[in-house]
C-alpha cells in the first residue's frame, strides 16, 4: 500500500465518521439526561430531506443546513412532547418517530429524487493543509467536519467542567433528587432532547448537502441506529464516541481499502460490514456487562412525573 492510498483511506474515514459523530454526540447528551430517543434515524432523514429541499429552493447551502437543524429539532420536540410531557413509553415513541420520519421524508423528497446540487465544498485550511499527508487527511475537509470537532470539544468541555454538564447528569441519574434541589427536570430533558434533534438534523444535512449532495429515500442507511450502539460502545464518553465513529467510518469504506489492495469483492457484501461490526460491538460489550451497567445513566428510559 502506498502512502497516497493510506492518505485517501484516512481522509475518507474521517468524512464517513462525521455523521456518526454528530448523531452519537447528540444522542449521548440526550441519554445523559435520562431520555432514550430511538428516533435518530427519523430525525436524520428529516434533516437530510428538508436541508436538501431548502438548498434547492433558496440556492443557499447555509440556509439548507439551518433547515436541517430546525427539522431535527422539530422532530425531537414531537418526541419530547409524547415521551416527556405525556410520559409515553420512550422505546415505542422513538420507534414511532423513526417510522414517521422515514415516511414523511420519503413523501416530501419524492419530487427531489434525481435533482443535483453543487454540494458544500472543502475548506482547505491555509498553511496546515500544506503539511504533507497530515494536511490532506485532517485539514482539507468541508466545514462540517471541522464543526464536528468543535462540537465534540464543546460537549466534552460541558461534561468535564461545567455546571450545565453536572445538571444534565444529575437529571439523568436521579430526577427526583435533581428536582428536590430545584432543577427543572422537564426543561433539562427538553433541552437535551432538542440538542439531540439538532445534531441528528445537522448530520442529515451533512449527508444530503456535503457527503453525497443528493436526496434518496432512506439515505441515512441505518446510521441513526449505528450511532445508538456507538453511544453504548463509548460508555457515554465523548472521546470514545470520536474513536468509535472513526472505527465505524473505516468499516464503511472497506471497499476502498480492498480495491486499493487489488481485491475484487462484491460491494453489496462489503456494505454489510458496518452492520456486522455493530452486532460484534454489542457482543463484545456483553463481556463487559458490569462496566456498561455502571456507566449507564441510572434513570435512562424512565419517564418522570413531578410530584406537586
Amino acid at each position: 500500500m502506498d502512502i497516497e492510498l493510506i492518505t485517501n483511506i484516512l481522509f475518507a474515514t474521517i468524512r464517513t465518521g462525521t455523521p456518526l459523530i454528530l448523531i452519537a454526540l447528540g444522542e449521548m447528551v440526550c441519554e445523559k439526561s435520562g431520555v432514550l430517543n430511538l428516533g435518530q434515524e427519523g430525525m436524520v432523514l428529516m434533516g437530510a430531506v428538508l436541508g436538501f429541499a431548502a438548498s434547492v429552493i433558496t440556492g443557499n447551502l447555509g440556509l439548507g443546513l439551518v433547515a436541517s437543524v430546525i427539522a431535527g429539532m422539530f422532530m425531537s420536540l414531537l418526541f419530547g412532547f409524547l415521551a416527556i410531557s405525556l410520559v409515553a413509553n420512550q422505546v415505542a415513541t422513538g420507534l414511532a418517530l423513526t417510522i414517521f420520519g422515514t415516511g414523511l421524508s420519503a413523501f416530501i423528497g419524492a419530487s427531489y429524487v434525481g435533482v443535483g446540487i453543487e454540494g458544500i465544498q472543502a475548506w482547505t485550511i491555509p498553511l496546515l493543509s500544506d503539511i504533507p499527508v497530515i494536511g490532506k487527511i485532517f485539514f482539507s475537509h468541508d466545514p462540517l467536519v471541522y464543526l464536528s470537532w468543535v462540537l465534540f470539544g464543546l460537549v466534552f468541555w460541558v461534561f468535564k467542567s461545567t455546571r450545565l454538564g453536572l445538571t444534565i447528569r444529575s437529571v439523568g441519574e436521579n430526577p427526583e433528587a435533581a428536582n428536590a434541589i430545584g432543577m427543572s427536570v422537564f426543561k433539562v430533558r427538553y433541552g437535551a432532547v432538542m440538542f439531540g434533534g439538532a445534531m441528528a438534523g445537522l448530520a442529515g444535512g451533512y449527508l444530503s448537502l456535503a457527503y453525497t449532495p443528493l436526496w434518496s429515500e432512506g439515505m441515512s442507511a441505518g446510521r441513526g441506529w449505528i450511532a445508538l450502539a456507538l453511544v453504548v460502545f463509548a460508555s457515554w464518553k465523548a472521546e470514545r464516541i470520536m474513536l468509535g465513529a472513526y472505527l465505524f467510518g473505516a468499516a464503511s469504506i472497506m471497499h476502498l481499502v480492498l480495491q486499493g489492495l487489488g481485491f475484487e469483492a462484491s460491494p453489496n457484501l462489503l456494505a454489510m460490514l458496518p452492520y456486522v461490526a455493530t452486532i460484534l460491538v454489542l457482543v463484545v460489550l456483553a463481556n463487559d456487562a458490569i462496566k456498561a451497567k455502571l456507566s449507564t445513566p441510572l434513570a435512562l428510559g424512565q419517564p418522570y412525573r413531578p410530584q406537586l
Partner: protein, 368 residues
Amino acid sequence: MIFKLEKRPSDSKAMAYLSPVLAVLLTLISGAIVFASLGHDPLGSLYVFFLQPLEDLYGWTELGIKVAPLLLCAMGLMLCFKAQVWNIGAEGQFILGGLGGGFLALQLGDVESYWVLPAVLLFGSLCGLAWAALAAWLKTRFSANEILTTIMLNYIALYFLYYGVHGPLKDPDGFNFPESALFSDFAMLPVIFEDYRLTISILFALFAVAVIWTFMSRAMLGFQINVLGQDPSAASFAGFKDKKLVWLVLLICGALAGLAGVSEVTGPVGQLNPYIAPGYGYAAIIIVFLGRMHPGGIVIASMLLALTYMGGEMVQMDLTLPKSITGLFQGMLLFYLLACDLLISYRIVRDRPVQTKSSSNQQETAQA
C-alpha cells in the same frame, strides 16, 4: 396549563378499545389536511385513498394479497411483544424467507414435480427462522439488545438480497437487470380464484391466526408468554424459563415472517428482485399495537394497513401524488395511537390552582 393529566384509579378498558379508533380518526383528519394543503379536494382524496381500492372484487382480492404477509408477520411479532421481546426484525426475516425460498425455486427450475412448492415454502420459512435464531442467540447468549441487533440484521438481509440479484441469482438472459429468472409454475402458489392474483397465502395467514389464537388462550405456553410479558419477576418465581420463551417466540416469528416472504416471491412477485419487501415487517409493528396485541384486533388492523398500501398506489395513479404517502399515513397512525393510549391510564382534567388532596394519590401519579 389549563388541563392536566391525572392518573385513573384503574386502567380504562373502554379507552383501550377506543384509542385505536380515535387514532384512525385523527389520522384521517390529518390526512385530509395534508391533501388540502397539496391543493387536492380533501374528502375526495380520502375517498380515493381508503374507499376506491375496495369498490370491486378485484380490489378485495388485492387487499388479501397484502393482508396475508402483514398478518403472518404481525402474528409472530405479537408473540414477541407479549413476551417483551422487541423484535423489529420481521422485515429481515421476511427478506431471508423470500431469498431462501427463491434460491431453492431457481435451483429446482427444471424439476417438474408437485413437491417443488412445499419444499420451497418450507425452506423459505426455515431461512426466516434461522435469521430470527441469530437474534435469539445474540440476546440469550450475549444479552445484546434485540432492537439494535434485529435492525442490523434487517440491513444485512437486504444487502444479501442485493448481492443475490446483482450476482449469483441474476437472470443470465435478463439484459443485466438486477432480477432473477421467473420461477417455474411448479414453484408458484396456486391462486384461489381464476383471473385474480390472490393466492392461498391468505389461508396460511388465517390458519396461523387460528392456531395462535387457540394457543394463547388454551395452552400453558401461551399463558407463560402472557405472564412473562406482564410481570417478568412473577414469571421467574413460577419457574418459567424466560430464555426458552425468548427462543420460542423469536423462532415462531421468524418462521412466520419467512413464510410471508417466500409466499410473496412465489405469489404476486414470481421472481427475486430488489423490491420484494415493501416494508411489511415494519408495518406489522404498527399492526400489533393498533390491534391491541390481540389476534382479532390484528386481523382488522392488518386490513387497514394493507389498505394504506393500496391507497398509496391509488393516489399515485389518480392524483399523481408520491406513493410514499403510505409511509406518512402509517407513521401518523402510530404516533396518534401512542398519544391516545395515554388516555387508557390517564384522564384529562381541568387544572385547579389549589389542590390539597391527600398526597398518597399524588404519589401514585408520580410513580407512573
